[in-house]
């Protein structure tokens, strides 16, 4: 280091940033996006249907829900936790909203709102177990996962709740623009902003980095930790509502296994499960990468059993690409 000298020289020689380094840095900083773009290019070369407006609309409609879940998951992960309950909380969101609308005759907006509120209760439950009772996020959310799934089954009696058309599906019909896509885009922007520009977003990442230091800096870390689980649950419940809206049914089976996809989205987007690292928009890109893999294989009619195998290898490839472009120095 050239500028370690003591003294008060304010014109310290700054590191020269030559072009080559900048380009490499660009690749490193944007590796998830680059992988996504590559995937899009490859996909559009592989089949004609990929770039059709119909397919793009399908992708957007399909991915809106998983992406919301990935965003919520990102905040939990960044703060050093993990949330396995999202899939079940999606089911809670789907079933509660459907019951409110179809059995209680509620309007879709208050029903959505209430479903999200009830989702948040599950998130707070997990959050309290983690932040205040000291449980590991993995088990606490595993327990909530089981409980929330059970609750969804109990309240529906295991039968999907059918929604009249013209109720919840208003948020998927395109009057002006598909509201569901709009909501998703707005939320991506909002949460990207929240992460970068609000103290909440910053503290979440700080906690994932070193919770002790954050607490000693006068921040009530427990509340923040708890709140990340609440946010994750809120978004999961909303995602559940989306799914109910799309299929006009609220079913207790919604979201099974979604937790793993959400975590994978975050990790493909460069998040570290050790906390302190990860960015909303990259998690979204990670989610899209996962979604596209499925879409393109379907379009190409890849037989379904090998699909799993190929998907596994593509996940590996995406993560390895991320690691390779990011390899600065191993600390041994």
């Amino acid at each position: 280091m050239a500028n370690m000298e003591l003294g008060y020289d304010k014109n310290l020689p700054k590191e020269k940033k030559n072009k080559k380094l900048n380009f490499k840095q660009f690749l490193i900083d944007n590796n998830t996006y680059i992988i996504l773009v590559l995937l899009i290019i490859i996909s559009s070369m592989l089949t004609d249907t990929f770039l059709t407006s119909m397919n793009l609309r399908n992708i957007a409609l399909q991915q809106a829900a998983p992406i919301l879940v990935a965003i919520g998951m990102l905040f939990v992960i960044v703060a050093g936790g993990i949330d396995l309950s999202v899939g079940s909380v999606m089911a809670v969101g789907a079933t509660v909203s459907a019951i409110l609308i179809s059995d209680m005759g509620m309007n879709y907006l208050p029903a959505m709102f209430l479903a999200v509120v009830i989702g948040i209760i599950f998130g707070l439950f997990t959050g309290i177990l983690v932040a205040y009772a000291g449980m590991q996020g993995f088990v606490a959310s595993l327990a909530t996962m089981t409980i929330a799934r059970g609750v969804s089954f109990v309240i529906t009696g295991g039968r999907p709740v059918k929604l009249e058309s013209g109720t919840l599906d208003t948020i998927v019909s395109k009057e002006f623009f598909y509201p569901i896509i709009l909501i998703a885009i707005v939320l991506i922007v909002v949460f990207a902003f929240v992460q970068k520009y609000t103290s909440w977003g910053r503290i979440a990442i700080a906690i994932g980095s070193n919770p002790t230091a954050v607490q000693l800096a006068g921040i009530r870390t427990k509340r923040y930790i708890m709140s990340t689980y609440a946010v994750s649950a809120a978004l999961a419940a909303l995602a559940g509502v989306f799914i109910a809206a799309r299929s006009s049914t609220g079913s207790a089976t919604v979201g099974m296994g979604q937790e793993l996809d959400a975590i994978a989205a975050c990790v493909i987007g460069g998040a570290s499960l050790a906390g302190g690292k990860g960015f909303v928009v990259k998690a979204v890109a990670g989610g899209l990468i996962l979604g596209l893999i499925g879409n393109i294989m379907n379009l190409m009619a890849v037989p379904s059993y090998p699909q799993d195998i190929i998907k596994g290898f593509i996940i590996i490839a995406a993560v390895l690409l991320g690691i390779l472009t990011n390899k600065s120095e191993k600390t041994v």
């Binding site: 089949t47 249907t49 059709t52 119909m54 397919n55 399908n58 409609l61 399909q62 789907a94 089954f153 109990v154 009696g157 295991g158 039968r159 999907p160 059918k162 799914i243 109910a244 799309r246 299929s247 006009s248 049914t249 079913s251 207790a252 089976t253 919604v254 099974m256 499925g294 879409n295 379907n298 379009l299 190409m300 009619a301 890849v302 037989p303 379904s304 059993y305």
Partner: protein, 336 residues
């Protein structure tokens, strides 16, 4: 709670022994099975029996546990809706060893099972009958379809789709049933290994297979990509009704019109409604009520009337049937 043990309504005829009966159900995550449990509960309850239901949650190991639990509890008789035909055999035989008879409901079991009988609407035949009617409708016309399957590795689903393929091939080419089964199996193998399959002579193509996990929302998602990839579909095939409801939404969204909806087997009331409205071509009847009624009747004959449990045929079928607009009223009340 819909599958609790509160079976004994106490209004059994006086002098009737209060029998302990178990029902090991494969899952409770879809309406069919919920209805099946409800129906068995209702009929068994009416006899004053004490019915315990255990749910395997789709896991064969859990199913074996549940069966063992029943044996340990010394049930008088066990109903079983099994996940995998062959995987259920050891449990059934263990029960037999312990002197407990097993009646299979809804799902067939593998060879060598020492069970009383299997009460079900044969998935294969249901599928075949639906295939035959559909072949009749399409006559010489080309069928360009996609299929929505339930869960990977699910045997009932496999039987249903193979049946459907057999029926279509048989109906369109006029070969024997036996030959049709062979070709249907080859057709299914082709579908699994290549992702699509064509039977040239029958003018029958399945252009893609999606997995909808038996539910409407996943049926929607699974069909969207396939519908986009395959313009000009004549037909969406499916292994149950709910997934096809999802496919109908996807079709509507894509603007496709006049696509036939054909389910190999199921019988949801909602599907029957659509059939009446001509929006749904056909489904095979698989009524949980009929299965439950017949199953409980056999149980009664054995437990109450003392009939020899080994005197039953291997399979006691509720009559398989393709439900179409013509005959839907006949079946409506048994829908679930």
């Amino acid at each position: 709670g819909c599958n609790s043990s509160e079976g004994s309504s106490g209004d059994g005829k006086s002098g009737n022994e209060k029998f302990k009966v178990g029902f090991a159900i494969k899952t409770q995550d879809s309406p069919y099975f919920v209805s099946l449990v409800d129906a068995v509960k209702e009929y068994a309850g009416a006899k004053g029996w004490d019915l315990t239901v255990l749910d395997a949650n789709g896991d064969t190991t859990k199913e074996a546990e549940n069966m063992e639990t029943f044996i340990a509890q010394g049930m008088d008789l066990i109903f079983l809706d099994s996940i995998e035909p062959d995987a259920a055999v050891p449990s059934i035989n263990k029960a037999a060893e312990a002197g407990i008879g097993v009646i299979n409901l809804d799902s067939g079991v593998g060879e060598g099972a020492k069970d009383i009988t299997t009460v079900y609407s044969d998935n294969k035949q249901n599928g075949r009958l639906v295939g035959l009617t559909y072949a009749e409708k399409m006559a010489d016309k080309e069928i360009k379809s996609i299929i929505l399957s339930g869960a990977k590795g699910n045997v009932a689903g496999m039987e249903r789709r193979t049946g459907l393929f057999a029926g279509i091939i048989e109906g369109k080419t006029g070969i024997t049933e036996e030959e049709a089964w062979k070709q249907a199996e080859a057709f299914d193998k082709e579908l699994t290994s290549k992702g699509k399959a064509t039977h040239a002579e029958a003018k029958f193509t399945v252009a893609g297979q999606g997995w909808g996990n038996w539910t409407e929302e996943e049926g929607l998602k699974a069909s969207e990509d396939l519908i986009t990839a395959n313009p000009g579909l004549t037909t969406v095939l499916g292994e149950n009704d709910h997934m096809l409801f999802g496919a109908m939404t996807a079709l509507k969204n894509s603007g496709a019109e006049g696509v036939d909806i054909v389910a190999a087997a199921d019988g949801a009331k909602a599907a029957y409604d659509l059939i009446k409205e001509d929006k749904y071509y056909a489904t095979g009847e698989n009524s949980p009520y009929k299965v439950a009624e017949l199953g409980v009747k056999i149980a009664e004959e054995i437990l109450v009337d003392g009939k020899d449990m080994w005197s039953y045929e291997d399979i006691t079928l509720t009559k398989p049937a393709a439900v179409t607009k013509e005959n839907v009223d006949e079946y409506y009340e048994f829908g679930f």
